[in-house]
């Protein structure tokens, strides 16, 4: 009887906890499994691409296409586009070695695509993942020309701009991005950004000791910090990455101002001197006015 009593108490205790947990989840809209970490446990997560470790097998590109139902999973593309959300660029270093640079959306903290999007379709989601809302996108292609990494592509099929979404659907299920899971060389890691930064710094020191004097961590502070970090054995430019990527609309005020100044000064002033009627110029009798009937 005593044994049964304990079991009943345990049962009641766990039932109560389960009920409270379910009620809390329903009330706050929390997803099962993420209650302890909030709705976006991937907020502080990042990806680390170790260029020195990448063997260029393109498992990441294939896994990405399969996970996101993109066409031609085994077709190689030189650039990321609407149907290739991640690829590997093969860059020749100064000493003729080929370095493999995995490219995908960098999920910038201050992304150009979200800044210039006229409909608000491109935006930074709660967990820091940059997405292009396919329901809102009208396919104006402004994000395609704005991205300093040349990542988004325009899909003729959907009529929208598309790009890597950091496998947001997988993250919501508690999984890691497909590319990181598929990498057989350990060149793509997914984890806490701070841990990855420490790891990347150690790797860079290791590379410098091995003679790679230009080795560096990329993505720490570019565009407010990238969600995709890199260990680069060479300078970013040598690997096709911009050293200091600019926010496309960062200097839009300057560009409006130069245009206004041109129109205001360089166009209006000459027009004034050309059309201005001075005393003795024959008055201001309307010229060439013929009624149209």
């Amino acid at each position: 009887m005593k044994e049964v009593g304990i079991k009943r108490r345990c049962f009641l205790k766990f039932s109560g906890l389960a009920f409270a947990s379910t009620a809390a989840n329903c009330f706050f809209g929390l997803r099962p499994g993420f209650a302890a970490e909030g709705r976006t446990p991937w907020r502080n997560k990042a990806m680390l691409n170790d260029t020195a470790k990448c063997i260029g097998c393109l498992s990441c590109a294939t896994a990405c296409k399969k996970a996101n139902s993109l066409p031609d999973p085994y077709k190689y593309s030189l650039e990321t586009d609407a149907e290739t959300w991640t690829t590997v660029k093969f860059k020749k270093a100064a000493d003729n070695r080929v370095l493999n640079v995995k490219m995908q959306c960098m999920h910038c903290t201050t992304p150009s695509c979200a800044g210039i999007c006229p409909t608000g379709a491109a935006r930074v989601t709660e967990g820091g993942v940059v997405v292009i809302d396919q329901e809102v996108c009208i396919g104006c292609k402004n994000c395609v020309v704005a991205c300093p990494f040349n990542v988004p592509g325009f899909s003729e099929e959907t009529g929208t701009a598309r790009k890597c979404i950091f496998c947001k659907g997988r993250l919501e299920k508690g999984l890691i991005p497909a590319c990181a899971e598929a990498c057989p060389a350990g060149a793509i890691e997914f984890g806490n950004r701070s841990d990855l930064l420490t790891k990347a710094t150690n790797r860079v020191n290791e590379l410098i000791n091995r003679g790679y004097q230009n080795a560096q961590v990329y993505g720490i502070d570019q565009l407010g910090g990238l969600k995709v970090l890199y260990v680069l054995p060479e300078a970013p430019e040598a690997l096709g990455l911009p050293h200091s990527p600019k926010l496309a609309n960062g200097d839009s005020v300057l560009k409006w101002a130069t245009g206004i100044l041109t129109a205001g000064v360089l166009a209006v002033a000459p027009l004034r001197s050309i059309f201005q009627e001075r005393a003795g110029d024959g008055g201001s009798k309307p010229e060439g006015r013929v009624k149209i009937t």
């Binding site: 809102v136 009208i138 701009a161 200097d251 041109t262 060439g288 013929v290």
Partner: protein, 306 residues
Amino acid sequence: MTYEVVWGFPVALYLFLGGMTSAAFYIGVLAELFSKGKYRNLARIGSYTILVPIVIGLFMLLVDLGRPLSFWHLMIQSQPSWHLVLQTGSVMSIGVWLLVIYIIICGVIYPAFWLAEESVGSRLPIVNLLKGKEKLRKIIGYIGIFPAFLVSIYTGVLLAVSSISLWGTTPFIPILFVASAGTAGIASLIIALYCVKQLSFEVMEKLVKAETVFVCLEFLTVFVLIVTLLFKGQALEAIKAILGGSLAVLFWIGFVLAGAILPYLMNHYHLKLRNGEKRLPVVASVLSLFGSLFLRYLVLMAGYIR
């Protein structure tokens, strides 16, 4: 070298028509203002050249959209509730509203005042109410100068606010497009005046002078843009293509020779003859319009060469 066209000919045409109509408007209104009414006919003719081309231009923009039927997402959205859309960081979003204001003021209201003075317009309902409202017409014309200026500038800023080196590295594309819009606006005024048989020698002389200013500004900006980019080591492939590569014919023959130098010489020759054939400046203006269009197409295409 990658050469994937993002914005093609329809966008070039849209930028060209936006620039041309806006310049025709502000040149006409400013001509009337500065001449104290002597060249008011330029304001009248200029205002008539806006609506049809700008509607064609907007149609071109729609054609270029991946989802043309969702174009209203640029202005109105239904999620989470119905609201107007203005993304202040987006040049395209600002441009859409500018175009709306521009079309309403410069393309519809202002020409309606002029139309009311014509025998055709005075018979139209609503329009005939505007007859004789000269002061109000002038005020609306002056107000319209601002959206017209901004539309002219917007066509360049749209490209300049990007990560494409040729367009975004320097602030010169807006200047270039303002200058080019000026030449196109003057060309459209000359053609329109010829069509209604009101192209006098005196007006032609003034317009050619103004065109000279815009052409000089255009060439100066192209020169400064290329030198700056060479100095910065940016967009080198694009510059190579423009000066001596795949886009060289379009640049040297289409823009420089046929689009700018030839029309300039033809117009000056016409003025020298004084009572020469008026079809000459019209041909020159048509060439000038093509030159402006080629320039925009050239700038777009060169941008994709990386």
